[in-house]
C-alpha cells in the first residue's frame, strides 16, 4: 500500500524546559519554567505546585536567558556506548536564577582546573539527533565566553 501523505517533520526539544519557537532556528530556542508567586522559587519546566513551599495557584511562566557561569563540573571519561568521551558535564548557574545540567565546550577535558569555577558561559542550541519518527531533536549546550 502506498504512503498517503508524508507526515510533517517536527523540531522537538530534548528536554521539556527548552522551548523551540515555530520559526527556529531564525528565532532562538530558550529555557523556560515557572516561578512561585508566594516564595519566589524558580523551577525548570511546567509544575503543578511549588516544590519549595507547596503553593498550587500562584505559579507563573518565566523565560530564562542563556548566560551564566560554571558552578561545578566533572569530566566524564567512561560513558554509555556510542557517546564520544571525555566530555565536561557541568552544573551551570544561569544569571536568571536557575541551574542547568550541561556540556561545556571550549575547555580542555584533559586539564580540569580550579580556574573553571565561575567561568562565564553562553548557551547555544543545535540538532543533536533524529528521533524514531524522523523529527529533529534540539539540545542546549554551553560554550565558554571569550
Amino acid at each position: 500500500m502506498a504512503q498517503e501523505t508524508a507526515t510533517e517533520k517536527k523540531t522537538n526539544p530534548i528536554v521539556k524546559f527548552l522551548r523551540i519557537p515555530e520559526n527556529y532556528p531564525d528565532e532562538a530556542a530558550y529555557f523556560w519554567g515557572m516561578q512561585c508567586g508566594a516564595c519566589d522559587a524558580k523551577f525548570l519546566g511546567a509544575r503543578l505546585a511549588c516544590g519549595k513551599c507547596g503553593e498550587t495557584d500562584k505559579l507563573s511562566e518565566v523565560k530564562y536567558g542563556g548566560d551564566g557561569e560554571i558552578y561545578v563540573f566533572s569530566v566524564v571519561h567512561q560513558t554509555v556506548p556510542g557517546l564520544e568521551a571525555p566530555y565536561v558535564g557541568a552544573i551551570i548557574d544561569l544569571d536568571d536564577g536557575v541551574s542547568i545540567r550541561a556540556n561545556v565546550y571550549g575547555l580542555d577535558p584533559e586539564k580540569p582546573d580550579s580556574s573553571w569555577f565561575g567561568k562565564r558561559v553562553k548557551m547555544f542550541t543545535e540538532v543533536t539527533a533524529q528521533d524514531r519518527d524522523g523529527n529533529d531533536v534540539v539540545a542546549a549546550k554551553f560554550k565558554v565566553q571569550e
Binding site: I14, A90, S99, R101, P112
Partner: protein, 379 residues
C-alpha cells in the same frame, strides 16, 4: 517505642555469582542470620526484604518459599541504594511499635556486570540527555559533588584518592569483601579516570550479594542471646528543597538532617562513636560524609584523611570493612551488610579487623534521589 535488639546477622561474601539466582543468595544470608540468632524461620513474625533491580519480583516471598513459607507478613522494599537499610528500618519499627516481637530484614541484589552505567534504557535514545546536556551517570554526579568541596575548600584530588587507599587497605582484612587488594596512592591516581576526579579505584564495583539481620524485642532477645546489640536510632530522611536540586543532586543536606536526628534520638554525639560504616559509593562521597556526619568540622575532611584519623586505630575508624569501594556494593544488600559489620565489631567477632573495644557504631546509607538512612547501634 520499645527497645529493639539485633540478635543475629550474617552476609555472604560479596562478589559475582552467575551460577546462582538472587533468591538463593538472599536465602543463604537469611538462614545464616537465623542460625546466628539461634532461632528458626518459625520464630520470625515479619520479614522486610530489600531488593532494587527486581523490586517487582516478590523476592521476599520467594525467599520464604525457599526457607520456610510460614504465611507471615512480607514487605518488599525499594529505596535506591538505601533499599536494604530501609528494609531494616521497617523490621525495626515493626518490633519497636509493639506490633511484632521478632522480625527479619534481608537485603539482596544481583547486578552481574551491568554496572552503574547500565541504568536507563527504554524510550527513544534521541531524547537521552547523557553527554549531550551534562551528565546524570553516578560517577559524574558524585564527581561534581566532590568538585563542589574542592571549590569551597581547596580540597585536592590526591586527598580524595587517599580515601580509596584507606578503604582498599581495610578490605584486605575482610574475608567478606569482593576485592582484597591494596591500592597504593600512585596506583589510585594513575588509574584510568572514570569521571574526574574519581578514577577507577575511587569508584565502587558492581556485584552480587545478600545480608540479613534478626531483630527482637528486649524480652524476646533475652531468650536467644547474651550479647544483644541495641538499635539506638533508626532514621530515614528524604531531601528537602534546595535550589539546585534535582539539576544537581544534593547528597549533603539529606545526610546532615538524618545525622542530627540520629544523634538526638540516640542521645549521643559524633564524639561518642567508636566506628562508622558510611556510604562510600565513590571516594568523593566519603569525603563529604565526614562533614555531613559531623565527624569533623566544615572544610576539615581533607585534613581528617591526611592525618589518617579514619583508619582503623585512628580517632574515628571509617569503613573498616573496606567500604563499598572494596567490600562491594550490591545495592539492596549494602544497608544490611553495613549493620552486619557493626554488629560483628560490637560483639568482638570481627577478627583481624576488629575495632578495639567498640561499643557504639553508626551505619549510614544514601540512595540518590534521595533517601538517607542512619542506624546507630550500641552494645
Amino acid at each position: 517505642m520499645r527497645d529493639v535488639a539485633v540478635v543475629g546477622v550474617n552476609m555472604i561474601k560479596f562478589g559475582r555469582y552467575p551460577e546462582k539466582d538472587v533468591v538463593e543468595l538472599a536465602s543463604e544470608a537469611s538462614i545464616a542470620a537465623l542460625k546466628d540468632a539461634g532461632c528458626s524461620i518459625k520464630d520470625i513474625e515479619l520479614v522486610a526484604s530489600g531488593n532494587l533491580y527486581q523490586s517487582n519480583a516478590m523476592i521476599g516471598q520467594r525467599v520464604m518459599k525457599e526457607i520456610g513459607a510460614t504465611g507471615i507478613p512480607v514487605i518488599n522494599v525499594a529505596n535506591a541504594c538505601a533499599t536494604g537499610s530501609t528494609a531494616f528500618r521497617e523490621a525495626y519499627y515493626s518490633v519497636a511499635s509493639g506490633a511484632y516481637d521478632t522480625a527479619m530484614a534481608v537485603g539482596s541484589e544481583q547486578m552481574g556486570k551491568m554496572g552503574l552505567l547500565g541504568a536507563g534504557g527504554g524510550g527513544d535514545r534521541a531524547y537521552s540527555t547523557e553527554g549531550i546536556m551534562g551528565t546524570g551517570l553516578m560517577p559524574g554526579v558524585f564527581g561534581q559533588a566532590g568538585v563542589e568541596h574542592m571549590r569551597k575548600y581547596g580540597t585536592t584530588q590526591e586527598q580524595i584518592a587517599k580515601i580509596a587507599v584507606k578503604n582498599h587497605e581495610h578490605g584486605v582484612l575482610n574475608p567478606h569483601a569482593q576485592y582484597r587488594k591494596e591500592t597504593p596512592l600512585e596506583d589510585v591516581l594513575n588509574a584510568r579516570v572514570i569521571a574526574w576526579p574519581n578514577t577507577l579505584y575511587m569508584c565502587c564495583p558492581t556485584g552480587d550479594g545478600a545480608a540479613a539481620a534478626i531483630l527482637m524485642s528486649a524480652e524476646k532477645a533475652k531468650k536467644y542471646t547474651t550479647k544483644p546489640v541495641w538499635v539506638a536510632a533508626s532514621i530515614l530522611t528524604s531531601d528537602p528543597y534546595q535550589e539546585r536540586n534535582p539539576t544537581m543532586f544534593d547528597i549533603n543536606t539529606v545526610t546532615r538532617n538524618a545525622a542530627k536526628q540520629a544523634y538526638e534520638t540516640a542521645g549521643i554525639g559524633p564524639e561518642d562513636l567508636d566506628m562508622v560504616e558510611l556510604h562510600d559509593c565513590f571516594a568523593t562521597a566519603e569525603l563529604l560524609h565526614y562533614e555531613n556526619l559531623f565527624l569533623c568540622g566544615e572544610g576539615e575532611a581533607g585534613k581528617l584523611i591526611d592525618d589518617k584519623e579514619t583508619y582503623n586505630g585512628g580517632k574515628i575508624p571509617v569503613n573498616v570493612s573496606g567500604g563499598l569501594l572494596s567490600k562491594g556494593h550490591p545495592l539492596g544488600a549494602t544497608g544490611v551488610a553495613n549493620i552486619t559489620e557493626i554488629v560483628w565489631h560490637l560483639r568482638e567477632e570481627a577478627g583481624d579487623r576488629q575495632v578495639k573495644g567498640a561499643k557504639t557504631g553508626l551505619a549510614h546509607v544514601i540512595g540518590l534521589g534521595s533517601a538517607c538512612t542512619i542506624n546507630v547501634l550500641k552494645r
